[in-house]
Symmetry: C2
Subunit: 299 residues, 2 copies
Amino acid sequence: MEKSPVPGDTLFMGVDGGGTKCRAVLVDGQKNVIGQGEGGACNAYQSFDKAIDSILVASEKALMEAGLKAGDRDKVVVGMGLAGVNIPDVYTRVWNWQHPFKARFLMTDLHAACVAAHGGSEGAVIVAGTGSCGFAQAGDRVLKLGAHGFPFGDKGSGAWIGLQALQAVLLNFDDLGKPTMLTELIASELKADGLDIIERMHNARTGDYASLAPAVFTAAEAGDSVAIAILREGADYLSDLADRLWSINPPRMSMLGGISHKMKDWMRKDIIERMSPALQQPEHGALFYAMQEYTQSIA
Amino acid sequence: MEKSPVPGDTLFMGVDGGGTKCRAVLVDGQKNVIGQGEGGACNAYQSFDKAIDSILVASEKALMEAGLKAGDRDKVVVGMGLAGVNIPDVYTRVWNWQHPFKARFLMTDLHAACVAAHGGSEGAVIVAGTGSCGFAQAGDRVLKLGAHGFPFGDKGSGAWIGLQALQAVLLNFDDLGKPTMLTELIASELKADGLDIIERMHNARTGDYASLAPAVFTAAEAGDSVAIAILREGADYLSDLADRLWSINPPRMSMLGGISHKMKDWMRKDIIERMSPALQQPEHGALFYAMQEYTQSIA
């Protein structure tokens, strides 16, 4: 067996930071998982301070589970896959953070999810959850699509679907849009109807919009033409996203995220038939990346 | 001449409170304007505290200009036309405010604008500015449309147009939407392009979106199909709004707001030909309402 350039006592950690929570996994030099931890919201675009705090919490919990302490972060080589660092200014800010780890590698949460979905190999992923985005890697070619943020981006996502539904309900309320079952379903979900909806959604966050998406699936399944039109437009976008990702010939493609299963029913069949299941969780993608990059950096 | 039931020393004030600023006009018992004042943003839906503060500032300035002091508010019968009070909970909160005036009458800014536009008589108005809405009064019938708030309402408004433009630019950036001149125009307006736009629009407010609307008019006038489609959709909505307002037979209709002049070019000709110019500013509508209601209340 070839001698590894990495000292046997080096610990590796993978961190997956998303809009809702942050997960950390800690392994020893023999790749045995020795600790895991979870922290809060970790989107550095939405809140830098909160993201850093969540990374520190999740990493400390993982160290504690392994019988270590927070101060042992200086023995850990960490890979971080974080939401928001696709935006250049956000990446720079996170990169300049004076981190407490032995070494640190940074990537988008999407890239980490992609590496994990394909077991450390190349491939592509589409995420349809609260937000939407796509990522593909094939040889030297990398394609990053979407992840533009709500309300101007994230087409086909839960938040986008919720926004379209609210627009349709309010147009219907004024008799300026088509009648739709969504009026009743959204009223029931929000426990408010008509103009009270506006008060209820005042300062609503992305997740609040996404929480309205299930009503749209319900209405569409019952044949409501307004709901069907919303899902068709969103699903067509996701199918187009897949076409663009396939254009650089990734070996595999997976679809991830909270509404991905539901959206598959509305996407093009030829696109869905080519999808493969995700093999691992995103934090393992960040871990794999850290091990690979660190080994190369000291070789 | 019939004896007025209103004591000759009663002062009347009209307040117009909108998303950007608040104007007050003060008249004496003979309807002579004796003072005017301006305050800051006054949308009680967006911020109750700020709206109250702006009313107090504008009313104090109007009193000072008339050689009076803030304490003289207790001699003033005020009519307030405020943005946001179309929402039931917001109306109740403003209504319950322990105001310092002799008497106070409350209406939406839209209703005040309508009364003013038609010189105190009945009629209808469409507003196309940062937001969009419609109001009509004819006999016992009143129709209030739109004013639903951004991002789920306000179709055809400056903020709505700006949001559509950003969506189009970001789709184009990913090669998932049509090429459009808006990419260059919005980049120039924001001094940012591609993913930096996302950072620039982080936590953007309604007015920030509306500030992108002029680029859309520029692109549409130059023949850009994406910009033309945005304005057509917005203008069709405003034309439909006018149709609904005409349905209760108001004697006149006016179109108000920062982008109303530009939007007229894209709306249906038959709708635009029936529009009449607004006769007075909205604060005079609130003033007229206060004088009428107070006179009736003490008669």
